[in-house]
Amino acid sequence: MPHEKIVPDVSITSLAILDAEGKVDKDLEPDIDIQTLLKLYRFMVLARRFDERLVALQRQGRIGTFPPITGQEAAQLGAVAAIRPTDWLVPSFRETAAELWRGRGLDNIIIANNGLNEGGIMPDHSRDFPVSIPVASQIPHAVGLAWAARYRQSDEVVMVFFGDGATSEGDFHEAMNFAAVFQVPVIFVCQNNQWAISIPLSRQTRSETLAQKAVAYGMPGIQVDGNDILAVYAAAEEAVARARSGGGPTFIECVTYRVLMHTTADDPKRYRSDEAVDAWRRKDPLIRFETYLRAKGVLDEAKIAGLQSEIEGEIKAAVDHAEARMKTMGDPMEMFDHQYAAMPPTLRRQKAILERELAADGREVEHE
């Protein structure tokens, strides 16, 4: 058997259902009820408008640095719509759209972006992990959750998000490998937005696609047009069904684009041209989906206008509410909470020290 071809069939496919003009491939069109379609649209718009509002708030100094998601709404919502509320979401730091869909409050996000630990508060029944900033480090957690869910004989699945840059980290590799070896119900959703801050995909990997990285783990991998919410949904739905029925993990590469800056602290002009961005703006997932829904006859100008103003109101109310709530927050003593289940003696002592110091600070200010 010299020089034999041994892995002849590595099947990596690419999926697109809505084309750039919003025309649908009827054969592949997933069966989504109208209510869900409209809900998806609503969250796309909400996520987009909220993103714009957050950038504006940041520019006004009313929130700190944050990572915008504009352009990635389809990749996030198409995927997360395929899991149930009882399933698990493990986000990175750029999944605002997915988090909103799962029920995280707008005000909560504003509070977190104001550097208040309270923005991390989540209900007891939540099955969503908090935002994770160290790139790729959240991926193994998804494997652990999925392992635990299966151990408890639940049919829950876990969906974990990360970027193209994350695929270079050891944690991505180790987690993919563990998931495949243990055949746990995880859906790995890679938002390939072409950039990791200033590093383009071509500098991140030499592989033609990210999807083919699944081959290394003996795991199904698929590439989808990440600006095509139907394709993302279809791929995710298939992966979720496989995971839920014991078929193990799947890797989904959503090809999309980071239309805005990496975070509000970033200046993309240093490393990329406006033309490239413009080309991607023309592939806007929101417009594409809107065209589809109009063609389907479930959306029209009036509905859109109504939705827009509803969402503007919702965002305004959330900002007002958050800014009001924040007035009652920020007690420095809170920083000692939630470090351990019970506060150890050293921390009790340090807390007393901070109390004493703050009191003394207060007295000194009075005296001035």
């Binding site: 309270e118 508060i121 992990f129 908090p130 160290p134 957690h141 494997v143 563990f178 150890p344 003696p345």
Partner: protein
């Protein structure tokens, strides 16, 4: 009561906790069929099956990362890192997540996991197999660092660590694994995490140690008593962090003198914190500077020189004498 080695005592703790609570899961490299390279998980796979005793691929970061996910789900994973010298691979998982997830999620996701790892020199092992770098964890807020000194307290502390609602780094002195046996009751015992113990009472000087250094320290105390009538109090820290210094401070207020013993490198080592705590709590009672008998600020030498590297009974005795001769 059965006389057990520390390996057997740890194995007993794992077995009983796994029997009592099906959320306790063991995972790591070679913990299953092989029973762990030191046999601490011996036979568990036969008792509890491969779904509770999980042989993992070779990747420390994923082992800890996976344990974090399991713990957040509600299980109580006990993961083994084969040697503490390989626990740096998972440093970011411990610091970025295990230590913070409760805090980040405002209590929604506690991380009740244990990371067990053999540490320390004295068993003629290869490079990276003899380090004592517990300070890395002790300095990391959100973690607890527990280091037993013998079979009985190892068993009791491991039970407590497994039941603890927070992540515990549990360092096992590999020189202790088979060094001696102790009576260990079959009935489950626990020991409170975060509380040092007086291992020997005394009034002339306070010796502070933990883990594998407790035995030479006790031997030094014994020698000092027999040879020159010096009554040394020996404190066994058991928990390095969060460090409760009250017992230490009390003892040194009584004796006025102290010697700290550890095999970790001296600079920025655990002994420094003990000295600082005693400075803060017992300065006006101190008759002489506190001595540190420790490892050196060097890579632990390969095994032929290990003996000269490690704190020894004569070195501890001489440090105590220096302390007594001063002030």
């Amino acid at each position: 009561m059965n006389k057990l080695t520390m390996v057997q005592a740890l194995n007993l703790a794992l077995r009983q906790e796994m029997e009592a609570d099906d959320s306790v899961i063991v995972l790591g490299e070679d913990v299953g069929m092989d029973g762990g390279v030191f046999r601490v998980t011996d036979d568990l796979i036969h008792r509890f099956g491969a779904s509770r005793v999980v042989d993992t691929p070779l990747a420390e970061s994923a082992i800890v990362g996976m344990a974090i996910g399991m713990a957040a789900y509600g299980l109580r994973p006990v993961c083994e890192i084969q040697f503490s010298g390989f626990a740096y691979h998972n440093f970011h998982q411990l610091e970025n997540h295990a230590a913070r997830l409760r805090w980040r999620s405002r209590g929604r996701y506690p991380v009740p996991m244990v990371l067990r790892a053999p540490y320390g020199a004295g068993v003629r092992a290869l490079e990276h197999h003899s380090e004592s770098r517990e300070v890395y964890w002790a300095h990391t807020p959100g973690l607890k660092t527990v280091i037993p000194s013998g079979p009985r307290n190892a068993r009791a502390l491991l039970v407590s660590a497994i039941r603890d609602p927070d992540p515990v780094v549990f360092y096992e002195g590999k020189a202790l694994y088979r060094a001696f046996r102790e009576a260990v009751p079959e009935a489950v015992e626990t020991l409170p995490i975060g509380q040092p113990q007086i291992a020997r009472e005394g009034s002339d000087v306070t010796l502070i140690a933990y883990g594998a250094m407790v035995r030479p320290t006790l031997a030094a105390a014994e020698a000092l008593d027999v040879q020159e009538g010096v009554k040394a109090e020996v404190i066994d820290l058991l928990t390095l962090s969060p460090l409760d210094d009250r017992l230490l401070v009390e003892s040194v207020r009584k004796t006025g003198r102290a010697v700290v013993v550890h095999e970790a490198p001296q600079s920025f080592g655990p002994g420094a914190e003990i000295v600082a705590r005693l400075m803060e709590g017992a300065f006006f009672y101190l008759e002489a500077p506190i001595e540190r008998v420790t490892g050196f600020d060097i890579v632990v030498p390969l095994f032929s020189r290990e003996k000269s590297y490690l704190p020894s009974v004569p070195r501890i005795v001489r440090a105590v004498r220096r302390t007594l001769d001063q002030g």
